[in-house]
């Protein structure tokens, strides 16, 4: 029964990872930039929520109303200023710029909020759980996080597949020059994609903060988890990202079931295994690039 429980908890944990990963996946898909500051931006969102809940005395879910737009705006500005310029400066520049940004955010947070461990208060709701037969119980919060992740991924999929904005994103990603000839301003499309991505980052940061604890230096770890979820699932596939998150979550909880210190390691090993035997990811049939 403990093993079944580990799998169930792993799936729920995977929901958080999928939520982390979809922003990374979207920015890479549209801009071809791997945002190395992704994890630190997630932590930044969690700390913003700490400030908002502290200042107005509202629950973290309400803080979403403030933090999501703030991060989306930050994404828009970031794209229009730093990232767009770095795109023009060659292949290495975006990586160097986002890595520099990651160091700046992480250490600024460390300076302002100290290295203390934080959590977002959730009250009785945070510990309430739903019994599902046997000894199994799933936390409401964890379940809602997973549902939010699925909803966000479905929403992104819908935007990309069905809307004019999504069409322009796909066009800009496939062939920026032709897209510009057709009258698309690629800078705007890029900025919109980054804004959406950072909106999901805000969601991920707040849900992570409600589920567990965080510190200013957690960012790199979150970036690695998001990245593993993306690669395990397969680059460029949003549903793959969800599957990748779930596989990573299960690997970690099953590993931790063997011995607590093996959790993160087991996740890394599953990632390396996928890289070795199925580098295109679980949900992609053949690599197109």
């Amino acid at each position: 029964m403990t093993w079944v429980n580990a799998i169930v908890q792993g799936i729920l944990l995977g929901g958080v990872y999928a939520l982390f990963a979809c922003g990374l996946s979207l920015v890479f898909g549209v801009l071809r930039i791997v945002n190395l500051a992704h994890g630190d931006l997630t932590v930044l969102a969690a700390f913003l929520a700490v400030v908002v809940t502290g200042a107005f005395g509202v629950p973290p879910v309400v803080a979403l109303v403030v933090v999501v737009p703030v991060l989306a705006a930050l994404g828009y500005v970031l794209q229009r200023t730093l990232l767009q310029r770095s795109l023009a400066a060659g292949e290495l520049a975006p990586l160097l710029v986002t890595f520099g940004l990651s160091i700046v955010i992480q250490n600024a947070l460390l300076q302002v909020f100290s290295a203390d461990t934080r959590t977002l208060p959730t009250g009785a709701f945070g510990t309430a759980s739903l019994a599902i037969g046997g000894d199994l119980a799933v936390g409401w919060l964890a379940l809602i996080t997973l549902l939010v992740a699925v909803a966000v991924l479905a929403g992104l999929q819908f935007v990309l597949a069905r809307t004019a904005l999504g069409r322009s994103m796909r066009a800009t990603s496939d062939d920026p020059e032709t897209a510009q000839l057709m009258g698309l301003d690629d800078r705007r499309v890029h900025a919109a994609a980054t804004a959406i991505a950072l909106g999901t980052v805000a969601l991920a940061g707040i849900f992570y903060g409600m589920r567990g604890t965080f510190t200013p230096t957690l960012g790199p770890q979150l970036l690695i988890f998001a990245f593993e979820a993306v690669i395990i699932g397969g680059l460029g596939s949003l549903w793959g990202t969800l599957l990748g998150g779930l596989v990573l979550g299960m690997a970690q909880t099953l590993g931790a079931q063997i011995q607590p210190s093996y959790g993160v390691l087991a996740g890394h090993l599953v990632f390396l295994l996928v890289l070795a035997v199925r580098p295109q990811g679980l949900l992609r049939t053949a690599s197109r690039r």
Partner: protein
């Protein structure tokens, strides 16, 4: 027409480098131990920067996981110490172990490219760290101290560590110069500029990249070994810290990516900044990040590029130059 490798700059450099190294070699006799210890740190930084530059500037591979090999090198020295081998003799061993471990690493991370390659190397470094923490014999998560050098007088130990570090730094820079002068260097330059074109011209892209990755891993292993010989203590979280990668990137980007001189200059600049800004605590890292972002966007050729401007000055020339000979009109 005259085709030559040396330039005026390189002839001046050749005249200057030897005396500088000789003077540095007499360091322990001239300056107090506190200064030689600081210089050991500087030499380790020069090694790291040169290796990261070889990877990114010449090999086109941005790695954020070189701290994995720094850690492996450091722990090789510690393991040798536990096994009763002289820690100084373990220096070459650290290079070999790091280089050997990098081979299976390449088969995995070479399946990724660009930014995903960067994070892939990082995951591998994390795996090395998590595996090291599980080994109780080298102290597990708490780390351990080097005990084999306890019998040595501190002044002598400091001097020998200093000479090891100086020798290693000279060796590493020399290896980079030699690589870039060889066929491999030419292949790397071609790959960096256009991998597809290089491949179609018969350059074995993957093999060249793998060789570079292995050399860079060995160099970082050496740097890790020097760090542990200097500090006499290893702690997994700090030796495997991604901060080393941040430092390497900073030094190379500030100094000038894709030059031999840049990383050395970058290491000097970083070392100076570290000494000046350290009292300001975490803000100094924030400043480093801001400077790195600015350099990546506005000064892409780094300090070396700013210094040399449009002149093609090379202290360590790797290519050939063609000059027109002075042809006097016949009377």
């Amino acid at each position: 027409m005259i085709i030559s490798r040396s330039t005026r700059g390189s002839r001046i450099a050749a005249v200057l480098v030897v005396p500088i190294v000789v003077v540095l070699a007499f360091g322990p006799y001239i300056v107090p131990p506190s200064v030689t210890r600081a210089l050991v740190t500087l030499f380790a930084l020069v090694i790291m920067a040169s290796m990261w530059n070889l990877l990114a500037g010449y090999g086109g591979m941005i790695s954020v996981g070189q701290q994995g090999f720094i850690g492996v090198g450091a722990y090789t020295v510690l393991a040798a110490d536990v096994a009763g081998i002289d820690p100084f003799l373990a220096l070459p061993l650290a290079v070999v172990v790091a280089a050997v471990l990098s081979l299976p690493t390449t088969t995995l991370v070479f399946r990724l490219s660009g930014g995903y390659f960067a994070i892939g190397t990082w995951v591998v470094a994390e795996v090395y760290r998590l595996l090291t923490v599980e080994i109780g014999a080298v102290g597990g998560g708490a780390g351990a101290s080097l005990t084999g050098l306890g019998g040595m007088p501190p002044v002598l130990r400091g001097a020998v560590v200093y000479w090891c570090a100086l020798g290693s730094a000279v060796l590493v820079v020399g290896v980079v110069v030699l690589i870039m002068r060889s066929r491999l260097g030419l292949a790397l330059t071609a790959i960096r500029d256009d991998p597809t074109a290089a491949d179609s011209l018969g350059v074995r892209v993957r093999r060249a990249k793998r060789l570079v990755f292995v050399v860079a891993a060995g160099g970082c292993g050496l740097a890790g070994a020097i760090i542990v010989l200097d500090s006499l203590r290893v702690q997994p979280d700090s030796i495997y810290s991604v901060q080393w990668s941040a430092f390497m990137i900073f030094m190379v980007v500030i100094g000038g990516l894709g030059t031999i001189e840049g990383p050395i200059l970058g290491a000097l600049a970083f070392f100076a900044l570290q000494q000046i800004l350290e009292p300001y605590g975490v803000w100094y890292l924030v400043a480093l990040g801001v400077v790195a972002v600015a350099a990546a966007l506005y000064a892409r050729r780094g300090v070396w590029g700013l210094l040399t401007g449009t002149h093609d000055i090379r202290l360590f020339p790797t290519g050939y130059r063609v000059r027109a000979q002075n042809v006097r009109p016949r009377a």
